[in-house]
Amino acid sequence: MSKINNIHVNRRDFLRYTGLSGAALVLGIAPANADESVGISNLSLLEEGHSLSPYVIIEKSGKITLFSTRPEMGQGVYQSIPALIAEELEISQDQYTVKQTGGEKQFGGAQFAGGSFSVRSDYFALRKVGAAAREMLISAASRQWNVPESECYAENARIFHRPSGKSAGYGELAESASTLEVPANPRLKDAKDFKLLGKSVKRQDIPLKVSGRAVFGIDVEIPGMVYASVERCPVFGATLKDYDKSASLKVPGVENVVEVEKVFGVYKTKGVAVIAGNYWSALKGRRALKINWDYQGKEYFNSQDYAASLRKLAEKEGVVDAAVGDFDKGFAESTKKIEAFYETPFVSHSTMEAMNCTAHWKEEGKLEVWASTQVPSDTMRDLTGRYNLKEENVLIHTCFNGGGFGRRLAIDFIIEAVNLSKSIKKPVKLIWTREDDMQSGPFRPPTFSSLKGGISGDGKLLAFQHKVISPSIMAFLNPDFDKTKLDGNMTEGISHQKYEIPNMKNLFVYSDIHVPLLWWRSVTSSTLAFSHECFIDELAHTAGKDPMAFRLQMLTKASDARRVLQKLKEVSGWDVPMAEGRGRGVAQWEFFAGLGGQVIEVTRQSDKSVKIDKVFAVIDLGTVVNPDTVKAQVEGAVVMGITAAIKNGITFANGKTEQSNFHDNPVLRINEMPPVEVHILAEGGENIKGVGEPGLPPVAPALANAIFAATGIRVRKMPFDIDNLTS
């Protein structure tokens, strides 16, 4: 995938954007030709009409700036992305500053963090940029000293001449280096010489985050700024009828009350915004509003009826996701057959930083936005299109994200803030309350699963079927969404596990819904891995096999999935028998983001309750940039996975979200977190897999399978209460 949009940028634009004055070495990535393969380019040699994403700037003063197009939301890209350049450039982490891009055209259309894509998409491209800069600096030094390049080397932001010991700093060489041709194929360092990559180096954002200095979107203050809080109809799909703002305007501090539109894909809602000189007054003013909504008949929507409708839809045949062999024949020929139905809930993202945005609509079509967002490029695209603004007149500041988990892939809250600033003609900070954040969605959709499996006389899996019944995320994001076709996003992974199953037919049934839905960390795998891997466990028990052995028996060929399970078997001591009342469960999952597997151990507390003792997690990466960051991501994914498995989730009654804050939609707390032991498989090669999400899908099935092992209770519905289990 090319990271670059073919947008033209001229040198003058560029210099204005970066604020550079004197000469500097500016290296970046530019599309080399029409087929969009990327090459490295040098600003001073850039031909007019060509584009450049400048990733490195070395100024005469010696100042080095590295750009990151990947928003930091906890996953550590603030360290790991610039480190790709720094490694090759031979600079240490205290020798450069990192600049977060904000959707500027120079950096192309893929400035985002999501899908566990960041490190794996940038791994070679950014290393090449760093290596090219290093070779140009060496070349500049060798010319200056009139010595062969082979006698020079780079270290610690200087070029050294080995025989004489002479050296020059990068700043001194920047100007002459900037006039040189860019090497087409700079030599990348050998992994054994890495100083940063593959090492657990400390993240540079952490000192900022232990001292209150990191600037999140909510922390931005600009001169003349007012605060806003918006009352939106709690009934999804309702419209605004009329409202009385008189009491609200009497609240001290309140300046104004206006209508405002929020847009999420095809989903639009109107709310009433209270504007005040401080946030507390805006909240009080909001409480004093009197609003009449038109519920549009949507006030009868509730979770029970919706779940019943999904169960009913399961009777439909559905559209085919994938088919192998002949499922019907295989199933008919099976000696033992089982069927099961699995259910999962809606969940909220509940990032610790609730949605907020500061927007300043200025005169003459200019706009400035400060936001915690995962998608600077999408934000730029949307805002310029929506308001018909020129890109150079829109400035987006990507702040540290107080959690993302997919929620900040949507920009509904940004559009709402911009609409507000446009209407009141002032810079405004819009802050959602926790209740707004938890109740408005978009939510992770539920998936219901109808499963069938047949075991042959010799205890092998002969036929397998996974039918998914669910609403669709794309139905909200794509106005041309076709409900009659397969939505592969909603069947994610079910046909792509490495298990060698002779007869398989997987299906999808679409269900309508009007409640807005969005990607959530590991997306549909967060629910489908549960039904799929629990059912595999059921089949293992039906076949009278050990669940680990049953899985490995279906993985005869060498594969990453097989390696993951073998590693799990080893680190968890799978073959060591457990004491009476204890149990362990296993699950693995491979999907767009990568591959992970877990073994979870539990102890029975009573007939109906268990305690989670320990989680063994294996993640397969191919190549690892920062092992400690990876461990942290997997630890966090496990915590989030346990929350999703055992805590309430989101339900609806009378058209509204029933939960409102952390008391009725809780997340795991410190006293509930079991020890998590993370093992990383990184055995080299170019097959790099993602980090942020693969730790999540195996959690719920490994836990449910452990519960079965310890108690005999087969859990088929998420969430499940581990203090009061039912089958």
């Binding site: 985050k209 001292s211 804050n661 952390f662 977190m673």
Partner: protein
């Protein structure tokens, strides 16, 4: 609007605010110290934790009018000038934060815990820190960072005592 005289991080501060304004918003929007975070507004998450006379309190549940003029308020910005507090250092050592949003509150709670319990067990930590939510799931590292800070405090005070003894000889 009323005038309140407050002592925040050993500085005298004067603010004009409505009596019911929570200290959270006073600290953030009137005094412009942004380290203290809004998480839930209901006393459920601990993101807004500050110290009032050394005791951890949820600033979202503390109206400005309830704070006495003699009350000493400490925020994350006030625990050290240059990230040299033993708890902050332990947090860096263990690379605790992910998104970081909850961490000011976590650190303020951890500092308060160590002030009352110099050598907490895992269970002590779990009990004391259970009011602080971390959606990123950094709990395991919070536990180890608190143990590390406790160990450092012990060895520091040990060497201080030794120094005192030596100098008295």
């Amino acid at each position: 609007m009323k005038t309140y005289h407050l002592n925040i991080n050993n500085k005298a501060v004067r603010v004009e605010a409505e009596a019911d304004t929570p200290m959270l918003w006073v600290i953030r929007d009137y005094v412009h110290l942004k380290g203290t975070k809004f998480g839930c507004g209901m006393g459920l998450c601990g993101a807004c934790t500050i110290h009032l006379d050394g005791q951890p309190v949820r600033s979202c549940q503390t109206p400005v009018s309830s704070v006495k003029a003699t009350g000493k308020i400490t925020t994350i910005e006030g625990i050290s000038a240059n990230i040299e507090h033993v708890v902050q250092k332990a947090w860096i050592e263990e690379q605790v934060p992910q998104c970081g949003y909850c961490q000011s509150g976590q650190i303020m709670s951890a500092v308060a815990l160590l002030n009352t319990n110099a050598d907490p067990t895992d269970e002590d930590i779990d009990n004391y820190m259970a009011g602080n939510i971390c959606r990123c799931g950094t709990y395991q590292r919070i536990r180890s960072a608190i143990h590390l800070a406790a160990a450092r405090m012990k060895s520091e005070s040990g060497s201080r005592e030794k120094n005192l003894k030596q100098s008295s000889h």
